[in-house]
């Protein structure tokens, strides 16, 4: 099992969920996070008013609001999920986000007590 941790634009959330459901991956966890990449935050990328706490003295953003998705899947489905997320989220502009793949040792479905790969099916 692998955990796919994708950090994407908040406004791509809906499209990403739809695309994942269409491919048969409805289960995910989403978190609102703040982040920045090599560019140290890009204020121009936002059209709406931003929280003044996020802006530094020079008027640049120190962080950009992002959405973090966590999806746990079997090893052989990792590539499909990554391709789906990439195809939906690629705009070509800075700030499209990152995808990380982490190993997961064990999963338990609390309702039934199933463990291992059956717990995430």
């Amino acid at each position: 099992m692998k955990e796919i941790m994708a950090i994407i634009r908040p406004n791509k959330m809906h499209a990403t969920k739809e695309a994942l459901v269409a491919r048969g991956f409805p289960a995910l966890t989403a978190q609102k996070v703040l982040g920045r990449g090599k560019q140290r935050g890009v204020a121009e990328e936002l059209t709406f008013r931003i929280d003044p706490n996020l802006v530094d003295l020079n008027g640049h953003m120190t962080y950009v609001p992002k959405r973090m998705l966590t999806i746990v899947v079997d090893d052989d489905q990792v590539q499909e999920v990554i391709e789906t997320i990439m195809a939906t989220n690629r705009t070509g502009a800075i700030g499209d986000g990152r995808i990380f793949v982490l190993p997961i040792e064990e999963a338990v479905r609390m309702r039934t007590g199933e463990t291992g790969p059956t717990a995430i099916k």
Binding site: A6, L34, I82, R90, G97, V101, L102
Partner: protein, 105 residues
């Protein structure tokens, strides 16, 4: 590659992030979390706070840079009191940049 998850004091975050930036690690993700440690929260007078607000910083870095980043976080986030936080390191197998589709950090 490793994922470094550091749970730190909210008031120390700016200091930590500035030091990381100066050392050449500007990229990170931050998340507001609540948690408790071995001390089971804190007691102030007769009020018991079970969940203490913290900030989780997440940084993915190449294996050789992990020690340096952990050192910076540990130094900048240090007060010596309970609640300075923890740093966890887990393996990352792959990283993709969505914009370019390249398989690297």
């Amino acid at each position: 590659m490793k994922l470094i998850r550091a749970i730190v004091r909210p008031e120390k975050v700016d200091e930590i992030v500035d030091e990381l930036k100066q050392a050449g690690y500007p990229a990170l993700t931050r998340m507001d979390v609540v948690g408790r440690g071995k001390q089971m929260g804190i007691r102030v007078g007769s009020v018991h706070y079970d969940e203490i607000p913290k900030v989780m910083l997440m940084i993915v870095a190449d294996d050789g840079k992990v020690e340096e980043i952990m050192g910076i976080i540990a130094r900048a986030g240090y007060t010596g009191n309970f609640g300075d936080g923890k740093i966890f390191v887990s393996p990352v197998e792959d990283a993709y940049t969505i914009r370019t589709g390249s398989r690297e950090l």
